[in-house]
């Protein structure tokens, strides 16, 4: 049964992101995966870049990386001296992509990989994206920052306090998180490039769980200054807090729709935490029926069609995905805090001391972070 559901999802998951709303719906099946081969790149950095490229194209999910004889496309190029010349040709030798990238080997390879994804599938790649998460390796909860595959990880905070709930702005240029540096949970924003940090929300009570909007201009978060934990929307400097919810219960973990017009959040106003949807300008929250008794930490996919969230059952946590157009929610993995990548097919979630990358249509998992203590609350840039 689970297998049948998974297979159904493979078909849906592949079909959904590939086409804009106006275009006719074409069912893409698993067999329609694009086959390609990576010819070892030349140049002094060729080997290093080839390795990164192969991994990126494999994790991308859209491709069958095969030997040259069976491939529809061939990836080739030359890398060295801070420059990567990449090329993709089709079976007839026609050039479908040719571009030069500068920068470090790894960064250039990621850019080339995302261009290949976009050229051959029309979808956004995840290879150039960044993640942030909470790790405890230093003895306290601190914020870490890394490439999507866990490489280049570094600790952003060193407060020896409690630093949690990161959210990345578009392009990972900035990061919002909840810090207890001053003894109260407040929202801080870090400019990733410079490391400059500002405490932007420090209202009385608890300020937490900020989610930066897709356009990078606003934050949605939980604040309790008016006497109850509710969802508010503020500017990135914390001003103009506008209250969206009014209940007797606990509202938390807002996530933005791709157009920034709506939010999904969790509320226990009906007894146990459930998901609700609300307009970013106000109005009432409407219940999203998932069929699960405990639903928290929603993440809205950037194609707008799905929500991933944590469910609690039998003392453990699972990651569930629901089609917002009316599909039932399905458990896809064991773990918690799922967050969508901009491909709308990958999730990153936490499981004990690991962060796991899950390709939802195929069910394939890859451990991307380990060895940093207990890791939790991943965020993923668009």
């Amino acid at each position: 049964m689970v297998n049948v559901l998974l297979r159904l999802f493979v078909v849906l998951g592949l079909a959904l992101p590939a086409f804009a709303a106006e275009e006719p719906v074409i069912t893409v099946r698993k067999g329609d995966r694009v086959s390609l081969t990576v010819a070892p790149l030349g140049g002094s950095s060729g080997a290093a870049v080839t390795k990164v490229l192969q991994k990126d194209l494999d994790l991308a999910g859209w491709f069958d990386v095969v030997d040259a004889a069976r491939a529809s496309y061939t990836v080739s190029g030359t890398a060295g001296g801070g420059s990567l010349q990449g090329k993709v040709t089709d079976g007839g030798g026609g050039v479908v992509l040719s571009k030069t990238y500068s920068g470090g080997d790894r960064e250039a390879a990621h850019q080339f990989a995302d261009d290949i994804v976009e050229t051959l599938t029309g979808n956004k790649g995840i290879a150039t994206t960044k993640i942030a998460f909470v790790g405890t390796a230093s003895g306290s909860k601190e914020i870490y920052f890394a490439d999507y595959d866990g490489n280049n990880s570094r600790r952003l905070t060193s407060d020896r306090s409690i630093s949690v709930a990161p959210s990345l702005g578009p392009g990972a240029r900035n990061l919002a998180y909840t810090g207890y540096h001053e003894g109260y949970p407040d929202v801080y924003i870090i400019d990733v490039a410079s490391g400059a940090r500002q405490r932007v929300v420090k209202a009385p009570g608890t300020n937490s769980g900020a989610a930066i909007s897709p356009d990078g201009g606003k934050m949605a978060l939980t604040m309790s200054k008016d006497g109850n934990p509710e969802i508010y929307v503020t500017g990135l400097r914390g001003g103009m807090a506008r209250r969206l919810t009014r209940t007797r219960g606990v509202e938390s973990s807002p996530t933005w729709s791709p157009d920034g017009g709506q939010l999904i959040y969790s509320s226990d106003n009906g007894g146990s935490p459930q998901l609700y949807r609300i307009g970013a300008g106000g109005g009432g929250g409407s219940l999203i029926s998932t069929g699960f008794g405990y639903c928290a930490d929603p993440s809205w996919s950037s194609d707008g069609k799905k929500v991933a969230f944590t469910v609690r059952s039998g003392g453990g946590f699972s990651v569930a995905v629901m089609d917002l157009a009316g599909g039932g929610a399905k458990v896809v993995a064991s773990g918690q805090n799922p967050v969508w990548g901009r491909s709308s097919r990958h999730l990153i979630f936490s499981s004990g001391s690991n962060l796991i990358l899950l390709d939802v249509p195929t069910g394939r998992t890859t451990t991307i972070v380990s060895g940093l203590g207990k890791v939790s609350e991943p965020a993923w840039s668009l």
Binding site: G183, A203, P204, G205, R246, A296, N337, E377
Partner: protein, 166 residues
């Protein structure tokens, strides 16, 4: 002259009525009957926080809670009364810190801990303590008093503690 004043006044009334009519709908319109009675928190006291050195902890017993609940039970009300009696004597203002067990997700637990602290605050206000004297903070599932698993540990961790600002 008098007539024109009356006219002006009349015009004002008409304009006011019109402005009432055209006033945009309340931004929370459509959710009448929802909870609106939370008592806003006072500004934070300068330089004092629950983790700071100028707050004495452990002076009062923590209020305990049921699983995933923020209701202050009748059995716990005596603890709130003890704090109310202390505060009524005019001594220190308090910070209530809310905590949870670890059987929820981190961010939801931060909200739940805050809700517990606010529920205890409401109980204090109900006993006549001025709202301006009571702050709240949530630590969610951080800083458990019992880091073992099991029902007894979970129950001990579901609590609201009182810190007295010196």
């Amino acid at each position: 002259m008098k007539k024109s004043i009356v006219f002006a006044a009349g015009l004002c009334v008409v304009l006011l009525a019109a402005s009432c009519k055209t006033k945009p709908k309340d931004e929370y319109a459509g959710i009448d009957g929802d909870y609106v009675s939370g008592v806003p928190l006072p500004d934070r006291a300068d330089g004092s926080s629950y983790l700071g050195g100028n707050v004495s902890k452990g002076q009062f017993q923590p209020v305990q809670f049921g699983f995933d609940s923020f209701e202050v039970s009748g059995a716990e009300m005596g603890k709130v009364q003890a704090v109310a009696d202390f505060m009524r004597s005019g001594k220190g203002d308090v910070i209530i810190a809310g905590f949870t067990d670890d059987r929820g997700t981190e961010e939801y637990n931060r909200g739940l801990g805050e809700r517990r602290a606010l529920a205890v605050r409401e109980a204090l206000i109900g006993k006549g303590i001025s709202a301006g004297r009571v702050q709240t903070v949530s630590f969610g599932e951080e800083m458990p008093v019992d880091s073992g698993g099991g029902e007894a540990a979970w129950a001990a961790n579901r609590r609201a503690e009182f810190g007295v600002i010196r």
